[in-house]
Symmetry: C2
Subunit: 472 residues, 2 copies
């Protein structure tokens, strides 16, 4: 592909995206295919000869689009949003064009330094403590996902708790314990499995039945009991916005409750954390200055194309202690001077792309005021949904709305709740996901796309009402 062809096809690709977005409102949100449908429309082997790039664009329309669930659709309310905004997309495109590798500072200094600056900017914008800034003993880094952040937090915790022994001798037969509530993200168990502790190392702590937040007294009781039994508490995982209902564990209270043990506190605010760009929506992070690590995902609600999970630690030495390696071919004067950070030692991977550009693009193109407006709009729409739920006797709220997440159900029962949701999803009109709360089925409606308007919410609500009527 010549430079001129790249310009031509590049403009066509940009236009394809703009056209795709313009078509979203008329497309069913959920994919309308059965297993194997997409595969059957593709050839069995790669082509021997080059094909025109236009053929790929045509196959996107013919094969791919019908097989997509449209996460960028204005009526996508399932899971959490995965906003891919114009500014972030173009930022990431520029990263692809530059094609630099930032595994260490020396391999492309701007990759590391822009990331440090942007993470400092973002920490300040969220009101995070100075101890997470790059000019402190801590610092921030972009991870691919919050799962990886939780995993690296656990490795850091093990490094610290073992006095550096784990990286050499492994986790051994020590009975390490990791704590999280029943509502902690599944990546906590996965992290324990991957770190060699096994799922059994995760002690699941009860939640308050109303708030779904971790029961702090129960947590403390569990730690005391474990310590008395000779087990070694190593990390507490706090959900600042659980996946199921957006429940907020009380960071300050937990920090106080486990203060006498040297336990790593990891605050997982994957979805909710970005709301802290609004000073009035920052209360749920009270106590975060006691946390050892914190993660939030701009790639969910904050308009930044996946992947972009911003992760901070207060003691970067624990992180790099757990993960550092130094092969000969990466030895260099800058690293040996100690003046630079080598991000290779901040995550499991070695190679890393210039992910900071997309977050830089988002912060600049929307400005903090623009981002606050986006967050406030999502929260306002969620409050609107909650009012709609309250206005219809067939429905009831399951938990208080949490930021832009609303969890509700049909009073008629679990079966009717799930059937109504499935009817809406199957219609393609909107897309919702489910959960269980205190053993009962519930519908989750997570607002957050920059395309979603009140009309989209109302249209979704009408579809739910029709489905509820059919279930009555």
């Amino acid at each position: 592909m010549s430079p001129e062809e790249f310009r031509r096809h590049g403009h066509a690709a940009i236009d394809w995206i703009a056209d795709y977005w313009a078509s979203l409102d008329d497309l069913p949100v959920r994919a309308q295919v059965a297993p194997g449908d997409v595969r059957r429309r593709l050839p069995a082997s790669a082509p021997e000869q080059a094909e025109p790039f236009d053929a790929l664009l045509a196959d996107l329309d013919r094969v791919v689009v019908p097989g997509l669930t449209h996460w960028q659709h204005p009526r996508f309310f399932a899971y959490f949003p995965a906003n891919s905004s114009p500014a972030a997309i173009l930022g990431d495109l520029l990263s692809s064009g530059i094609g630099a590798q930032g595994m260490i500072w020396a391999t492309s200094p701007a990759v590391t330094e822009v990331e440090q600056v942007v993470l400092d900017w973002f920490a300040e914008a969220l009101g995070l403590p100075d101890g997470f800034r790059s000019d402190s003993a801590g610092g921030g880094v972009i991870q691919d996902t919050a799962s990886t952040a939780t995993f690296t937090a656990l490795l850091s915790a093990l490094h610290r708790a073992s006095g550096g022994v784990a990286r050499v001798d492994g986790v051994g037969s020590e009975q390490w314990r990791v704590y999280g509530s029943t509502q902690a993200h599944s990546s906590l168990v996965k992290a324990a499995m991957m770190a060699g502790l096994g799922a059994r190392a995760v002690r699941t702590v009860a939640v308050d039945p109303t708030t779904q937040a971790i029961d702090v007294a129960a947590l403390r009781g569990a730690v005391v009991e474990d310590v008395e039994s000779g087990l070694r508490p190593v990390m507490v995982h706090l959900a600042a916005g659980s996946t199921s209902t957006g429940a907020m564990d009380d960071v300050a209270a937990v920090a106080e409750a486990v203060r006498e043990w040297d336990v790593w506190l990891h605050v997982d605010a994957a979805w909710a954390g970005v709301a802290a760009v609004c000073p009035e929506h920052r209360d749920f992070l009270a106590g975060v200055e006691s946390a050892d690590s914190f993660v939030t995902n701009p790639h969910k609600w904050l308009l930044t194309t996946f992947d972009c999970s911003t992760f901070w630690v207060r003691d970067r030495a624990a992180l790099t202690g757990a993960l550092s390696i130094l092969p000969e071919y990466l030895r260099n004067a800058a690293t040996e001077s100690g003046e630079v950070v080598d991000y290779r030692d901040w995550h499991p991977q070695l190679g890393r792309r210039f992910r900071a550009i997309k977050l830089w693009a988002v912060l600049r193109t929307y400005g903090l005021e623009g981002l606050r407006a986006h967050i406030r709009s999502g929260i306002a729409l969620a409050e609107h949904v909650a009012a709609l739920v309250a206005s219809d006797d067939r429905f009831e709220m399951v938990t208080e709305p949490s930021l832009s997440l609303v969890v509700f159900r049909l009073r008629a029962g679990d079966e009717q709740t799930l059937a109504a949701m499935e009817a809406v999803n199957a219609s393609g009109e909107a897309y919702l996901s489910h959960t269980t709360v205190e053993g009962r089925a519930a519908i989750r409606l997570a607002v957050g796309s920059w395309r979603t308007t009140e009309a989209d919410v109302d249209r979704t609500w009408r579809a739910l009402q029709e489905a509820a009527a059919a279930e009555a």
Copy 2:
């Protein structure tokens, strides 16, 4: 940013990339900045108000480009190439625009099925055994990096060797052993550290001093010794193209040597594996049908924008056994039917973008014949370099050229070798990296960019000759 603004700025971003590429030949390959230079040119805080997107493009020129080492430069010969080709960039751009999440089949079926098809295509193109295909008990998946592939291979190996105990109870006090040569990639030790085994679990096996390939008899001896001592061999890591010199471990011989123990064989062909698109460059993979897992990175030599590390296993149940989790909100009929694959259980992360589009775009836009021509061109240029080395008595080859990697040194000694390399790197004329082989310093010259011509190689060689003359 409105749709019309997205089109306008999108076209501008495409043009910025094309202009950047056109400027590369005149730019110094290595960044010309000192620690902190980039950071000092950026504001201390994020802007409150929105800025025009053009301001970001201007800062790329003003702040970023001087701080980059240009991995896309035609005279970038350091490490391994990280080719970001036009077709791949546009494929990945389309993925950003679609913005779908493929953590499970149900969240966007096309993300999973296109990936399965493209991995089957690519396995066939590389001549990999049918046991890696998605219609077998195995299958392929795109990982972010080969480091992650090695880590997931190790987790799979532990799952199998422990009979599924490790995921629940952890690695415990069992004395697991992992084997790799002295030339194995550093990610092997990192994987052992992350998996809870510790660096000490990795037994480093000697290599043949000439080929730098693993000494198979020494490997077998090590395994026998360990088993007799009550240790548990769990995985052998084979370098099919080592980072240092491109050394090729003998997969068939190793498979035969450790056949009597149920040891997981992981073939790490991160850089070299893609050369197997050429039937005449496939010999080094002889025996790969005995491997349990195999990885190669299209994001290195094969024109596919980072990240794209293609990983196959023969027994996907071992992989998903090690990594599966199933929270309530991801339960769905398709998963329960068993008819689909949920890639969430194939890697550490939960979220995943539509990475298959970029590899699909590369396979189609260049065609297998185009990709073979690209590989052959890199190998021919490396042979040209080797001839130049042979033609100048001041230089000598350190190892035989391996595909497109040439390793050589100045006969004058280590200091002169490193000084000559540094002189070339500092001049900006070209960029090379170093290694040590049998205790002596050597220069690595890895060809592989689609922009590199014979003239670029010759110009680099002249710079090296001048530097050698200055060292004489």
